[in-house]
Amino acid sequence: MRALPVGLDALLIELDSPQETAALHAELLRLRAASRLPPVREIVPAARTVLLDGLDDPRGLARELVGRRVPPLPPTAGEVITIPVRYDGEDLSTVAALWGVREEEVAHIHSAAHYRVAFGGFAPGFGYLTGLGEQYHVPRRAVPRTAVPAGSIALAGAYTGIYPRSSPGGWQLIGSTDAVLWDPGREPAALFAPGARVRFVIAGGREPADGSDADGSDADGSADTEGAAGR
């Protein structure tokens, strides 16, 4: 763990792995909830860092945090959000080719993995989801699309993401969902917050091929998924 000063009142804590980053983020949220963290305006996890912004004494906190033993994150920490997906994305054949599988298998492989919202940042409600095996990491498209429809499920590098609204984007599109990722009129506005766990299920009622989560853990508050029936 390394603490880098950022301006006059922020700290960037750099870690060695995504797992350590997730663990430190969870620990910081726990300390803040227990009023054991000095006042802080923002706690922003990212790929290998956690930013703490709006601190009175960043150097003091840096001394306190560095060298602190952070308990590893239990794999079951965080609520589970279920997203029904139509695996009908425009880049499905490209992704199938990159994975060396038939197109139909993309849905089964993608929906079998257990995901976690590692961080946000591209747009309100966008989450960078980790969990897909390394052999399934794919590059971005050489030429980004000028408009990716809202609800598109997309892959890039180690991440899966869902576009909360129509925007330009260079990720590989594998499917779509009717889940509402961002609704300022809802509390909370973002369906995905860093730390949440996510399962993708094939829309139309079929459960993931590996039969995991057979308890049908749909009761997770993803209430915006009505009308997600298959094509």
């Binding site: 960037l12 922003v44 990212a46 790929a47 946000g120 591209f122």
Partner: protein, 287 residues
């Protein structure tokens, strides 16, 4: 209870103190770029600092009010007219119902602030009425014939200042720069370049960032930087080597290295620097 936009100018938005605390969800802080000017405008009409004002860009705007209000214009100096007659800039102006308030083009600086007693009553998103151009939160930028509600309450009597001390917008911008967190991704020559060379505010600047023209900054570390959290005032260096000073609508995470951070106190001047303004950085080590 409303005002009508008669002339929206180049870009006029509703701004308050923004929506901090949601960066982890990808929500920019947003809010008035020249916060002292926003606060002063509110003070002059008796509003609390968090009341929403209108932020203009270079060309001013004109609005008709449909009830009697006190208004004040601060920020970039400009001609102010009420029903065609000259009125005070930087002072409370009493408007009768039906009056037309015209805010002229900035004579220097970029952004003027219009406060109305009771504040602009647009709908709040995550506790703020600010227009956020990056993510599209908050009210859309003003357009001709738009009607905006005015808040009904006046919370304290307007300040009747005899003199409003106000720094003139800069002809030359000198920005302190706290190096880090990724200054070690650049050559030593890059930091020297940043300290010694004149940069210029580019026309591509906006509420997201002050884009600068000038000598490119040379990278030492060429590998890709994993996305990381960014703060207000972060000076990010994209692959073309030209620094961008991030302002209120900045993205909350980014994947290009941040060579240093301009402290928030220096950003109001940056927000008032028009395209072409020379910029110098004064790098310093953190603590």
């Amino acid at each position: 209870m409303t005002l009508t936009v008669v002339h929206a100018g180049l870009l006029t938005t509703v701004q308050d103190l923004g929506r901090p605390g949601h960066a982890h969800l990808g929500v920019p802080r947003s809010g008035a770029l020249d916060r002292p000017a926003h606060r002063l405008a509110n003070l002059l009409v008796g509003n609390p600092a968090e009341a929403a004002t209108l932020e203009t860009t270079v060309l001013g705007c004109a609005v008709r009010v449909h009830r009697a209000v006190v208004a004040a214009v601060t920020g970039a100096p400009c001609a102010v007219r009420v029903d065609g007659r000259p009125a005070a800039w930087g002072a409370p102006v009493r408007l009768a119902a039906g009056s037309l308030l015209e805010v002229g083009a900035a004579t220097c600086g970029v952004r003027s602030y219009l406060a109305f007693s009771g504040g602009i009553g647009a709908e709040t998103v995550l506790g703020s009425r600010s227009t956020d151009l990056l993510s599209g939160l908050g009210p859309a930028p003003l357009a001709r014939s738009d009607r905006l509600p005015l808040g009904g309450e006046r919370l304290r009597p307007p300040a009747e200042a005899d003199v409003v001390p106000w720094p003139a917008p800069p002809r030359r911008l000198v920005l302190p720069l706290v190096l880090g967190p990724r200054d070690d991704w650049f050559t030593a020559a890059a930091v020297t370049t940043l300290a010694r060379c004149d940069y210029r505010v580019s026309t591509a600047s906006n509420r997201i960032g002050l884009r600068l023209g000038g000598p490119p900054l040379e990278r030492l570390v060429e590998r890709e930087l994993p996305s990381e959290g960014m703060v207000l005032g972060a000076v990010q260096v994209p692959p073309n080597g030209r620094p961008v000073v991030f302002l209120a609508d900045h993205p909350t995470t980014g994947g290009y290295p941040v060579i240093g951070v301009v402290p928030a106190a220096a950003l109001p001047a940056a927000a008032q620097a028009p395209a072409g303004t020379p910029v110098r950085f004064v790098p310093q080590r953190a603590g």
